[in-house]
C-alpha cells in the first residue's frame, strides 16, 4: 500500500491463508457459516442476559434471575414468548416492505462476521478488502430500518427512520476516516492482516482513531447516548413501534448483533483481535468483545440522550475534523518515523490526541437552539 515495510511479527504467526479443508472451499464455507451463525446467536443471547443483569446491578436492582440459574435462560424464555405472540401488521401498512424490513436489517449485520477473524486465519473468507467490505455491509441495515419506518405508516416510525438515515450517513464519514489511520499503520485492508500486524494494540497508537470509531460506532448502532431512533421517551419505540412478534424479535436481534459487531470490530482493529498471552486466541477475542460490550452497557446505564441536531453537529463539527487531523498525523508518523512506530510514538500519539480533543472541545458549540416559527 505504501512504501513502508511491514514486518511486525508477521513471521512468528506463520501463514495467513485459511487452512486447507478436506472438501475444498465449499466445506470451509459451510463450516464457517454454521460456526458464525451459532457463535453470533449464542453470544447474542448471552449479551441480552448480560446487558439486562449489568444494567440491573448498575441501577440498584437485580435484573432477570428467575428462569434458569442466575436467569441465564431468560433470553430463551423471551424468545419463546415473542415467537408465539401475534404478528400485527397495521392495516394501512405497506405489507411487503413491512415484512421485508427486519430481514434486511438483520442479514447484513450477520454478514459482517464473515471477515472477522476468530483466530489466525479462522474466518469465513479472508478478503483483501475486508475493511471496505465491513464498511459497506454495515451501512445496509439502515435501509431495513428506513423500510420499517416507512412501511409502518406511522409518524413516529417515520421520524425515527429519518433520524437514523441522517445519523448513519453522517457518522459513516468519521468512522471510515478513523479507520484510515488503522489501515495506514497496518498496511492492509484485510482484517486478519490487521490483527497480525498489531504487536501493540492499536488503541495505544491510535487513541484518537479509537475514540472517533467508538463514538461513531455507537451512533451508527444507535446505542445510548445516540439512541435517537428508538428514543423511548420521545418516539415511544421508534422505528419498530408497529412491530410485534417475531419481526420485532428480529429487530431486537439485529440491534444486539450490531452491538456485537461493533465490539468485535473494535477488538479487531484496536485491541489486537484474538492475540494475547496464555489464553487460547478465541477466548481472548471473546473476552475483548465482552469488555467492549460492557463499556457500551455502562454508557447506556449512565448517559442521557443527545438531540438530533447536536448529533449531526457532533459528527460534522467535532468528529470529522478530528478524523482528518488524525489521518494527517498518522500519515506523517508512518512516513517520517516508521521505525519509531511500535513503542516510540505511543506517548506522542496520546498527547497529540489529548491536545486535539481539548482544542476542538474548546472551539466548537453544538446545536441550533430555538427556531423562530
Amino acid at each position: 500500500m505504501i512504501g513502508f515495510n511491514y514486518s511486525l511479527g508477521l513471521e512468528s504467526y506463520g501463514r495467513t491463508l485459511p487452512p486447507d479443508w478436506p472438501g475444498g472451499f465449499w466445506w470451509h464455507w459451510l463450516v464457517f457459516t454454521v460456526i458464525i451463525l451459532a457463535f453470533v446467536m449464542t453470544v447474542l443471547l448471552g449479551f441480552v442476559w448480560f446487558e439486562r443483569r449489568a444494567l440491573g446491578r448498575m441501577q440498584a436492582r437485580l435484573g432477570p434471575n428467575r428462569v434458569g440459574p442466575f436467569g441465564l435462560l431468560q433470553p430463551v424464555a423471551d424468545a419463546l414468548k415473542v415467537l408465539i405472540k401475534e404478528d400485527i401488521v397495521p392495516s394501512q401498512a405497506d405489507k411487503i416492505v413491512h415484512w421485508l424490513a427486519p430481514v434486511v436489517t438483520l442479514v447484513p449485520v450477520l454478514m459482517i462476521f464473515a471477515v472477522v477473524p476468530f483466530q489466525d486465519g479462522a474466518l469465513l473468507v479472508d478478503l483483501n478488502i475486508g475493511l471496505l467490505y465491513v464498511v459497506a455491509v454495515s451501512a445496509v441495515p439502515i435501509l431495513g430500518i428506513f423500510m420499517a419506518g416507512w412501511a409502518s405508516n406511522n409518524k413516529y416510525t417515520l421520524i425515527a427512520a429519518m433520524r437514523d438515515v441522517a445519523s448513519v450517513i453522517s457518522y459513516e464519514i468519521p468512522v471510515v476516516l478513523s479507520l484510515a489511520g488503522v489501515v495506514l499503520i497496518a498496511g492492509s485492508l484485510s482484517l486478519n492482516q490487521i490483527v497480525l500486524t498489531q504487536n501493540t494494540p492499536l488503541i495505544l497508537l491510535q487513541p484518537l482513531g479509537f475514540l472517533i470509531f467508538f463514538i461513531g460506532g455507537l451512533a451508527e448502532i444507535n446505542r445510548t447516548p445516540f439512541d435517537l431512533l428508538e428514543a423511548d421517551s420521545e418516539l415511544t419505540a421508534g422505528f419498530h413501534t408497529e412491530y410485534s412478534g417475531m419481526k420485532f424479535a428480529l429487530f431486537y436481534l439485529a440491534e444486539y448483533a450490531e452491538a456485537l459487531a461493533l465490539s468485535a470490530l473494535i477488538a479487531t482493529f484496536f485491541l489486537s483481535g484474538w492475540r494475547g498471552p496464555f489464553l487460547p486466541p478465541w477466548l481472548w477475542f471473546l473476552l475483548k468483545i465482552v469488555a467492549m460490550f460492557f463499556v457500551i452497557i455502562w454508557m447506556r446505564a449512565t448517559l442521557p440522550r443527545i438531540r438530533i441536531d447536536q448529533l449531526m453537529a457532533l459528527a460534522w463539527k467535532f468528529l470529522f475534523p478530528l478524523a482528518l487531523l488524525n489521518i494527517v498525523v498518522t500519515a506523517i508518523e508512518v512516513l517520517v518515523w516508521p521505525e519509531a512506530l511500535p513503542w516510540g510514538l505511543i506517548p506522542v500519539n496520546i498527547v497529540v490526541a489529548g491536545i486535539l480533543v481539548l482544542f476542538l472541545s474548546k472551539k466548537f458549540t453544538l446545536g441550533w437552539g430555538r427556531i423562530e416559527v
Partner: protein, 367 residues
C-alpha cells in the same frame, strides 16, 4: 438557514411514555421543529370539586390524596389549613411540627420523582429514576409508618393529625436525614455536570420572568425564572417562620434551572426537617374537633407551597356539614399555561424535556 417542510400533525399522547399520565400534546411539526402546540387533557377528570359538595368536610380528606398523588400529604395539609381557616380550629404545637416534617418529606419525595422522570425524559435510561425511586421508597416507608398507607395517606385532620407518630419514627427519620445529603451529592455527581445533560437542558425552554408571572406559574417553575416567590416565605402558613431556609432561584429560567432548583430545594427541605426535629415538643397532636363540623357561613382561601407550586383550596361554607363549593387551585394545571410558549420553536426531543421539567401530575391537572 432553515428548510421548511410540509407540516405534519403529531399527537404526543395521550398514551405516551413521557407524558406523565394521560396528557396529549397536539403538535404541528415542521420536520422535527414544533411550530404549534395545543395541550389537551381531561382524560382523568373525576370532578373532585363536585364530589366535595356531596361529602362531609372530613370525608373529603381521602379524596384530596387523589389529586396530586405524588404529594398527597401536601394536599391534605392544604385542605386542612383551609378548613381550619374557615372554621377557626386551633392546631396543637406538636401537630404543627409534625405537619412541617411530613410536608417537607413529601416535597423531597415529589421532587425525587420529578427530577428522576425529568432525567429519564432526557434519555438517561432508567438509572437516575431508579436511584431516586430508591430514596423515595425510604420516605414512603416513613409515611407508611405514620399513616399506614404508602400513597394515599389520609393523615392530616382538622386541628392536627389523625394519630401521633410512633416511637420508631424519629430514629428512622434521623437516619434518613443523615443519609439524604450524601445521596443528593451522588445525583449531582451522576448527571449534574454531564455535558450531554447540559446540552439538552441549558438554554432550552426558557421561560422569562415576565411570562412566568403573567402565566401564573408557581413553584419551582416560577423560581427558576428568577422570581423569589415561595409561599412558605412570602405568606407563611403553619409554623414556617420558625425555620431558617433559603429559597433557591434560577437565573435563566431554562430546563436546567428548574432541575437545579428541585435539587437545591431537597437540600433545603432536609435542613428544615433537621430544625423541626430539634424543636419538636411533646403534647397532643389533635385538638378536639367534632366529626361533623359546621363552619360558619363564609369562605376561605388558603394556599400552601406544594412541591409543584401554589396549591390552594377555596372553600365556601353554608353552615352545613358539606362544603357549598370547593375549588382547587392545582399548580400542575396552571403551570401548563406557559407550556406552549416554552415549547414552540424547539424540537420534539426538547418539547419532551421541557414538559418533563414543568413536573405535572395528571391527577391534579384533570381533577
Amino acid at each position: 438557514m432553515v428548510i421548511k417542510t410540509e407540516p405534519i400533525i403529531l399527537n404526543i399522547g395521550p398514551a405516551h411514555p413521557s407524558t406523565h399520565g394521560v396528557f396529549r400534546m397536539r403538535t404541528t411539526l415542521d420536520g422535527e421543529v414544533i411550530v404549534e402546540m395545543e395541550p389537551i387533557f381531561g382524560y382523568l377528570h373525576r370532578s373532585i370539586e363536585k364530589l366535595a359538595e356531596e361529602r362531609t368536610y372530613t370525608g373529603f380528606i381521602p379524596l384530596t390524596d387523589r389529586l396530586d398523588y405524588l404529594a398527597a400529604m401536601s394536599n391534605n395539609l392544604a385542605y386542612c389549613l383551609t378548613v381550619e381557616k374557615l372554621a377557626g380550629i386551633p392546631v396543637p404545637e406538636r401537630a404543627e411540627y409534625i405537619r412541617v416534617i411530613i410536608a417537607e418529606l413529601q416535597r423531597i419525595a415529589s421532587h425525587l420523582i420529578a427530577v428522576g422522570a425529568f432525567l429519564q425524559d432526557c434519555g438517561a435510561f432508567m438509572t437516575p429514576f431508579l436511584y431516586m425511586i430508591r430514596e423515595r421508597e425510604k420516605i414512603l416507608d416513613l409515611f407508611e409508618m405514620v399513616s399506614g398507607q404508602r400513597l394515599t395517606y389520609n393523615y392530616m385532620r382538622f386541628g392536627g393529625l389523625s394519630q401521633d407518630i410512633p416511637d420508631e419514627f424519629l430514629p428512622a427519620l434521623r437516619k434518613f436525614v443523615d443519609q439524604m445529603p450524601s445521596y443528593i451529592d451522588e445525583y449531582d455527581q451522576l448527571l449534574a455536570e454531564n455535558e450531554i445533560l447540559l446540552a439538552r437542558t441549558k438554554g432550552i425552554g426558557i421561560l422569562s420572568r415576565e411570562t412566568a408571572l403573567n402565566t401564573s406559574a408557581s413553584g419551582p417553575v416560577l423560581r427558576a425564572s428568577g422570581v423569589e416567590w415561595d409561599i412558605r416565605h412570602a405568606d407563611p402558613y403553619s409554623i414556617y417562620p420558625r425555620f431558617e431556609f433559603k429559597i433557591p432561584t434560577g437565573m435563566v429560567g431554562d430546563c436546567y434551572d428548574r432541575y437545579w432548583i428541585r435539587i437545591q430545594e431537597m437540600r433545603q427541605s432536609v435542613r428544615i426537617i433537621k430544625q423541626a426535629m430539634k424543636q419538636l415538643p411533646p403534647g397532643p397532636v389533635r385538638s378536639t374537633v367534632p366529626w361533623l363540623i359546621h363552619p360558619p357561613v363564609g369562605e376561605a382561601y388558603a394556599h400552601v407551597e406544594a412541591p409543584k407550586g401554589e396549591l390552594g383550596f377555596y372553600l365556601v361554607s353554608d353552615n352545613s356539614i358539606a362544603p357549598y363549593r370547593c375549588h382547587i387551585r392545582g399548580p400542575s394545571l396552571i403551570n401548563l399555561t406557559a407550556l406552549r410558549d416554552m415549547v414552540v420553536g424547539w424540537k420534539i426531543a426538547d418539547a419532551i424535556v421541557i414538559f418533563g421539567s414543568i413536573d405535572i401530575c395528571m391527577g391534579e391537572v384533570d381533577r
